[in-house]
């Protein structure tokens, strides 16, 4: 999934990778592409994890893990960092999801479980602001429930923001007519994909195969 999504990160893009699964994307961006990674806590030009023993406790990413910076990096303070996110300055935001609806609604910050204190962080800012919002998620939950749905039942992060979803089974565009499958894994029928999806799918005229990922390289492309 991460490998497939990484092929769509354009050269020269300013990109925010959300915590969790999306951070894997950096390992798969094709060699030779220059991509600038943003971290919400105030880094433009974030690099890979440091070598053991070289961690700086102040230099961390959104997931609070130690990172490095690349030549050309800049630090910004928090208000400017969120100006970058909210104000449409990022080319791509890659987010995880609990649910994506056929109209592009995104639910990725809270379940309906009140047993935990709620926490939102930068999820809503990332969802509303980037020029393209890409979602990286498994097609169904571990219990087999569809994550692509007609209407989100989990609390909304933002309405109508998702452009494209990359799952383990398919690449799906959110269009004005709903969900359109652009690629799907070989060996799966359209009916089988629809059965694992909670919203009606249409299929692109040039529907192609979703090909498996290459091995993870070290570091960020």
């Amino acid at each position: 999934m991460a490998h497939r999504l990484a092929q769509d990160i354009p050269d020269g893009a300013y990109v925010n990778l959300g915590i969790g699964l999306p951070t894997l994307v950096a390992n798969h961006v094709p060699d030779g592409r220059e991509v600038i990674y943003h971290s919400e806590n105030g880094i433009l030009g974030m690099g890979p994890a440091p070598a053991p023993g070289e961690e700086d406790p102040e230099l961390i990413n959104a997931g609070k893990d130690p990172v490095t910076i690349v030549p050309g990096a800049a630090y910004v303070h928090h208000t400017d960092s969120f100006l970058i996110m909210r104000g449409g300055h990022l080319d791509v935001s890659v987010l995880g999801a609990f649910q994506v609806a056929a109209n592009g609604d995104l639910a990725n910050w809270a379940t309906n479980d009140d047993g935990f204190p709620p926490a939102v962080g930068g999820a809503m800012d990332l969802a509303v602001g980037a020029r393209r919002v890409l979602v990286l998620t498994t097609h169904t939950t571990t219990e087999g429930e569809p994550k692509l749905v007609e209407r989100c039942t989990y609390p909304l992060t933002a309405a109508g923001v998702v452009d494209r979803v990359y799952t383990d089974l398919a690449v799906v565009d959110v269009t004005s007519e709903g969900l359109t499958v652009r690629e799907m894994v070989p060996g799966l029928s359209r009916e089988e994909l629809q059965a694992r999806t909670g919203a009606r799918l249409s299929f692109a005229a040039d529907l192609g195969p979703l090909l498996g990922g290459a091995p993870i390289r070290d570091g960020r492309g």
Binding site: G42, E58, Y75, H77, T79, P117, V120, D125
Partner: protein
């Protein structure tokens, strides 16, 4: 003016925001104060200032901070000792936020959950003398419930009020006696905004340097936003 007397030269006033101890840095903070506490995760937390605040003893505090503390230190220590009435926060569920979770479940601390960029911008609005702003962030979510929502440019926006502090506790890297600040890497995070948004801004720095030795091109927070500076050369990482 909160400068110390040692800075006064014969016949003239010398602006000096240095204080000689952590206790002096947090002196006069009252019960019920709204305290902006800088930092994000382990980065930029003014650990020693929060411990000085704990020793100073004010209660019923409102803390405005991105995370709700972790382990037994800083914000978590203030929670553990029941000094905090309310937390205004974007992500109170970090690794090791044991004390927050315990008190939240017991109903002993109030939580105002604010999206991270909105939290920062509300403080910036206070610093800038603005009466609030409309943002698309969260406008479609349950965090907009009870707030004014308006369509601007074809998109829903929610009105958010300014969030001023009585006090800001900030960690920076270097300061001069005027309170000009530089920061270390991503520890800058909330510092510049919080410094400008509070009535009393208290800063702990690794090093206090001679006036004039900070490059004006590189000063991140100018001293106009700073009231007290205390040197903590060997600050523990959060």
């Amino acid at each position: 003016m909160t400068g110390v007397d040692s800075a006064r030269e014969e016949g003239s006033f010398v602006l000096d925001k240095r204080v000689s101890s952590l206790a002096a840095a947090v002196a006069g903070i009252e019960d019920g104060a709204v305290i902006l506490v800088g930092g994000f995760g382990s980065s930029g937390i003014p650990v020693e200032l929060t411990h000085a605040l704990l020793d100073a003893g004010p209660r019923e505090l409102t803390l405005v901070t991105n995370n709700a503390g972790s382990g037994e230190r800083d914000v978590a220590a203030l929670l553990r000792e029941r000094r905090v009435r309310k937390i205004v926060c974007s992500y109170p569920r970090s690794r090791g936020s044991v004390w927050f979770e315990k008190l939240y479940r017991a109903g002993e601390v109030e939580l105002e959950l604010v999206p991270q960029g909105t939290l920062s911008e509300r403080m910036r609005a206070a610093a800038a003398g603005l009466g609030g702003f409309f943002t698309p962030t969260g406008a479609d979510s349950r965090l907009a419930e009870g707030k004014e929502v308006r369509e601007i440019g074809g998109r829903l926006h929610v009105f958010e009020e300014p969030l001023p502090g009585d006090v800001a506790l900030v960690k920076a890297d270097r300061a001069d006696r005027w309170g000009n600040l530089t920061y270390h890497s991503a520890a800058r995070n909330f510092g510049p905004t919080m410094a400008a948004a509070a009535a009393l801004t208290v800063v702990q720095v690794r090093e206090i340097v001679e006036l004039g030795s900070l490059d004006p091109e590189c000063v991140v927070t100018p001293g106009i936003f700073v009231n007290r500076v205390v040197e903590v050369p060997d600050a523990v990482p959060a």
